[in-house]
Amino acid sequence: MLDKYLKSRIPDAKKLVKDLRRQYDYVSVLGTVVNTKKINISTHINSMDEVDNECGFVIKVYKDGRYSEYSCNDIRGLKAAEVTKAIRLDKPFTKEFNVRMLEEQEHTEDFIREDKAKLSDKKIIEELTKVKDDMHKNDERVINVHTVYVKRQTSKIFVSEKKCLSQKYDWINVVLAVVVRDKDKIKTNYKSQGEADSLEALNKFKAESKEVLDIAIKMLDAKPIKPGKYTIITDPSISGLIAHEAFGHGVEMDMFVKNRAKAINYVGKRVASDLVNMYDGAVSCLSAASYFFDDDGIEAGNTQIIKNGILQTGISDYLSAMELGTVPTGNGRRQDYQRKVYTRMTNTWFGAGKDKYEDMIRSVKHGYLLCQTNNGMEDPKNWQIQCTATYGLEIKNGEFTGKMVSPVVISGYVIDLLNSISMVSDIVKIEGSGMCGKGHKEWVYVSDGGPYLKAEAKLG
C-alpha cells in the first residue's frame, strides 16, 4: 500500500502545481519515500538498520525553453515564491537554448506490487546465520562470511496538471560473500539474489551457497590469464554485463542529445550478428528495475534495441525525447530525489537463441567459460570495452580442463565482439541485484542478463 505520508501530500502537490502554473508553462511534483530494511549477519559484524531511506520531493518547472528543478524535504506549506526564489538564475552563463515542452495526456492511476512473503526478522536472521555458520564449518580456510538481506519498499507519486499517479513496489536482495585465505592468498567470491518475494530470494540464496564456497576455494589456485584472443562462452551474468556496459550505455539517448554516442549513426544498421536480440525496459521482465512509471511520470516500457543484429532504437527520458523529437520510453531515472533525471537502463538483456549449452561447450577448441560479473565501464563514444569476469574456466577440445583463471578482463571493440557471436543458448537468466553508475556517479538499481553466448574476444 502507498506510503501514508506520501498519500497525504497529494493535495499539497496539486495545490503547488496550480500555484506555480501561474508563472510557468509546465509544473510537476515527484514525491518519493523509500523504506529500506537491511539485515547484516557476518562473521564479525551483525546489524539491523533502516539505512538508505529516502523521503523528499522534486518540483520541476518549464519556462522560456528551459527546465528548472527544486529538491526539498517536504512540500506542505511550501510557497510557490520559495521555489521561484531557489531556482532563480541572475545572468546565467549560457547560449540560447530552446527545449520543447512535454505535452502530457490525462492519466490518473495507482499501481502496486508488494512482497507476498511475510517473514519475521527472526526467521530471516536464522536463515542468514545458518548459511554463515555452515560456511565456516565446511572449510577452515573460510575467514569471513558476509550475508545481507535488503528489502526496499518504494512509494512514489507524480502530480502535474494532467497526471496524478502513484506506485508502490518492493524488491529484495540477498547477498552472500565468502572470503577464504591460504597463507598470503586471499580470495573473495560472492553471489547476489534479487527477487520480488523474500522467501524466493532466501531459498535461492541457500541453494547456491555451496557453489559460492566451492568457487572461492578454487579461486585460491587460480592463475592470471595469458593475454590474447580466445573463443569465449559467457555465462548469463557476463552476457548481461556486455549488454549493459558494452552496448546499453551507448543507446541511452541523452548521449544522443550530447552527440556522445556512436550508436546514433548506427540506427537501422548492423551492430551484431543476426543471432542477437537485445531488450531493455522496466516491464520487459520482473526484476530489480521493474517499476510502473519513471521519474518523469512516463509509463514504464519494453524496448527492443537490437533485432536480429540490427540496431532498432535507443531508450530515453522525456527531456532527451523532447530534444530529439522522439517518444520517451520510460527510462527517466534519478538516483534519489536530490538528483537530476538521466536516461538510464532498467532491466537489460539479450534474448534467447536455439543452441544447447552443452553443444556450445563442446564446440570450443580452446577458450574459456567466463563467469560472474565483477565490474565494467562504458565508452559510448568510441565503443571500447572494459568488462571484467570474476573467473574463467578453461575449455580444450570441448571439455573443461579444470583450470581456473581470475580475474579476466574482456577488452576490444564492442561491434567486433557482438558480430563475432556465433551461438546463443536457449535459456535466459536475468540477475536483479546490481547497481549502475552513469560515468562515475548517479547510482540506480538495475538488472541484466541473457543466454550463454559464444564469441571471440581479447582477454587479459
Binding site: 527544486y70 586471499i186 550530447k258 570495452i385
Partner: protein, 421 residues
C-alpha cells in the same frame, strides 16, 4: 523535528544505553550544460537526520540506525526508536564503547558569494578553456554545495562543521575529422579555484586531442620491462589499498596482507594517514563516530609500522590510542627523474581496478603515451595488469607532486615488469 525534541526522546528512553545523531544540511546549486547551452538548473535544500541507538551490556553491543523524515513527529520517532532497540538487541556484537567526550569541534566557513554566482563563475572558468577549433567541451555538470553537519553522541560530543564543495564533471571531445574522441574529467575541490579549473579543462582537452591521434599496440612495438607511470585515481586507489591493509578492521578480521614490521617495499617511502591536508577535499577533523582524528605513520622507510581505524575495531584490538578513521593519505618518497628513459605514461583508464584481496590492479587504458627515447606516441586500446603486493616492492615515485581528494604525494607511481597487452 528539531534537534532538542530528538534528544529529549532519546534521553527519555531508558532502554537505550547510548546514541549518535547526525544532522546534515545541504544547500546546492547545479548547472547542466550541453555544449555551452544551459539545459537545466537545479537547487537542492535538504536536511538528513540519522540516529543510531546502542543497547549494550558488559559483553555485547547491539546497534541499529534509523533515518528521520519530514513525516516524523514525536510519536513516530518513539515508535522507530523502540523498533531500533528491538533490532539492536537481536543483532548483537562483541562489546565496544562509543567515542568519549573530547574537545567539541566548531568549524564555520565563510562564503562571501551567493552559490548561484559561484556556480556561474565556475561555468565561465570551464568555458574559458573552450578555445580550440577541433576540440570542444561536449557536456558539463557543475555542483556548488554547502554542507552544515552536526554530530552528537550520548557521551557529550557535539561537533559542528561546515564544508564547501565544487564539483565539475566535464566531457571533452576532439575530432580528427574522421572520428570524434572523448575523455572524462571530474574536478572536486573545497574551494572555487577558477584558474585551476580552466587549467585542468585545458589539459583534458589536449589529452582528448592526443586520444584522437592515438595508435594501437599493432602500430608500436613496446620493449620488454618498460617502465609504466600511473597517476590520478589509480595512485589514490593503490595508496588507499595499502592503508586499508593496515586498518584496525582488516587486521581484526584477518583480511590483511600486511602486519606491523612487514616490509611493504624496497623503496623506503613513508605513508601517513592524516585528518587535514591542504588541497585534499576529504579532510575532516573527526570521523563518523565523532572521534577526534590523530595522524598515524602507517609505513616508515617502506616497512609497516602502525595500524589505524575506527573506535570499534581499535577497541577490539586493545589499541591504547585510537586514531579514528582517518580520511587522507600523505606519501613521502625520494623522487626519480624519468628523463630520457623509455616509458609508458598512462593518462586515463576506462575505470582503474584495484582488488584489495587478490591484489589484482590495472585496467583498460583510454589514453597512454609511449616515450620512445625521443618523442611521445599516444596509444589507446591497451590494458595493463599486475599484482600490487608484488609490484609495490620495486615501485619508484616521481619528483612532481600532487594533491587530490584523498591523497597528497608524488604525482606518478612508476612500475616495472607490468603486463601490457
Amino acid at each position: 523535528m528539531k534537534k532538542n525534541e530528538i534528544l529529549a526522546c532519546l534521553k527519555a528512553n531508558k532502554k537505550i544505553s547510548g546514541y549518535e545523531v547526525s544532522i546534515v544540511n545541504k544547500d546546492s546549486r547545479e548547472l547542466f550544460y550541453v555544449l555551452d547551452h544551459l539545459e537545466i538548473n537545479r537547487a537542492v535544500k535538504i536536511e538528513n537526520t540519522a540516529i543510531t541507538v546502542y543497547v549494550s551490556d558488559k559483553k555485547t553491543t547491539g546497534s541499529s540506525t534509523i533515518t528521520l523524515t519530514a513525516a516524523d513527529d514525536k510519536d513516530s520517532l518513539n515508535k522507530k526508536l523502540n523498533s531500533a532497540i528491538s533490532k539492536a538487541k537481536t543483532a548483537k556484537n562483541e562489546y565496544y564503547p562509543l567515542a568519549p567526550k573530547t574537545e567539541n569541534i566548531k568549524e564555520k566557513i565563510e562564503i562571501k558569494k551567493d552559490l548561484n554566482e559561484i556556480a556561474s563563475n565556475v561555468a565561465k572558468a570551464v568555458f574559458k578553456a573552450d578555445t580550440y577549433k577541433n576540440g570542444w567541451i561536449n557536456s558539463t555538470e557543475i555542483f556548488v554545495s554547502r554542507f552544515n553537519e552536526e554530530f552528537i553522541n550520548s557521551n557529550g560530543i557535539d561537533h559542528v562543521s561546515e564544508h564547501f564543495k565544487v564539483e565539475v564533471e566535464c566531457i571533452p571531445t576532439w575530432s580528427n575529422k574522421k572520428e570524434e574522441f572523448e575523455l572524462y574529467k571530474f574536478h572536486e575541490s573545497n574551494k572555487a579555484d577558477y584558474n585551476q579549473i580552466t587549467k585542468e579543462i585545458d589539459e583534458i582537452l589536449k589529452m582528448a586531442k592526443d586520444r584522437s591521434q592515438a595508435v594501437t599496440l599493432k602500430d608500436v612495438k613496446l620493449p620488454k620491462d618498460l617502465k609504466v607511470l600511473v597517476k590520478g585515481e589509480m595512485v589514490e586507489d593503490i595508496v588507499y589499498n595499502l592503508a586499508e591493509n593496515l586498518s584496525y578492521k582488516n587486521t581484526y578480521i584477518k583480511q590483511n596482507h600486511y602486519q606491523i614490521n612487514d616490509k611493504v617495499s624496497d623503496n623506503p617511502f613513508d605513508l601517513t594517514m592524516k585528518a587535514v591536508v591542504s588541497g585534499c577535499s576529504a579532510s575532516r577533523r573527526y570521523d563518523s563516530n565523532g572521534v577526534l582524528l590523530k595522524p598515524v605513520k602507517l609505513i616508515k622507510g617502506g616497512v609497516a609500522k602502525n595500524t589505524y581505524g575506527d573506535i570499534r575495531f581499535g577497541y577490539y584490538l586493545k589499541e591504547k590510542k585510537i586514531s579514528g578513521n582517518l580520511p587522507v593519505c600523505e606519501l613521502k618518497a625520494d623522487g626519480v627523474d624519468i628523463g630520457k628513459e623509455k616509458h609508458l605514461l598512462v593518462e586515463a583508464f576506462s575505470s582503474p581496478q584495484m582488488e584489495e584481496d587478490s591484489g589484482y590492479w590495472g585496467g583498460e587504458i583510454r589514453l597512454a603515451k609511449y616515450f620512445d627515447g625521443k618523442k611521445y606516441i599516444p596509444l589507446t586500446g591497451l590494458s595493463i595488469s599486475g599484482n600490487i603486493y608484488e609490484d609495490i616492492k620495486k615501485v619508484e615515485f616521481s619528483k612532481e607532486t600532487t594533491a587530490s581528494k584523498y591523497y597528497k604525494g608524488p604525482k606518478y607511481m612508476i612500475f616495472k615488469g607490468i603486463e601490457i597487452s
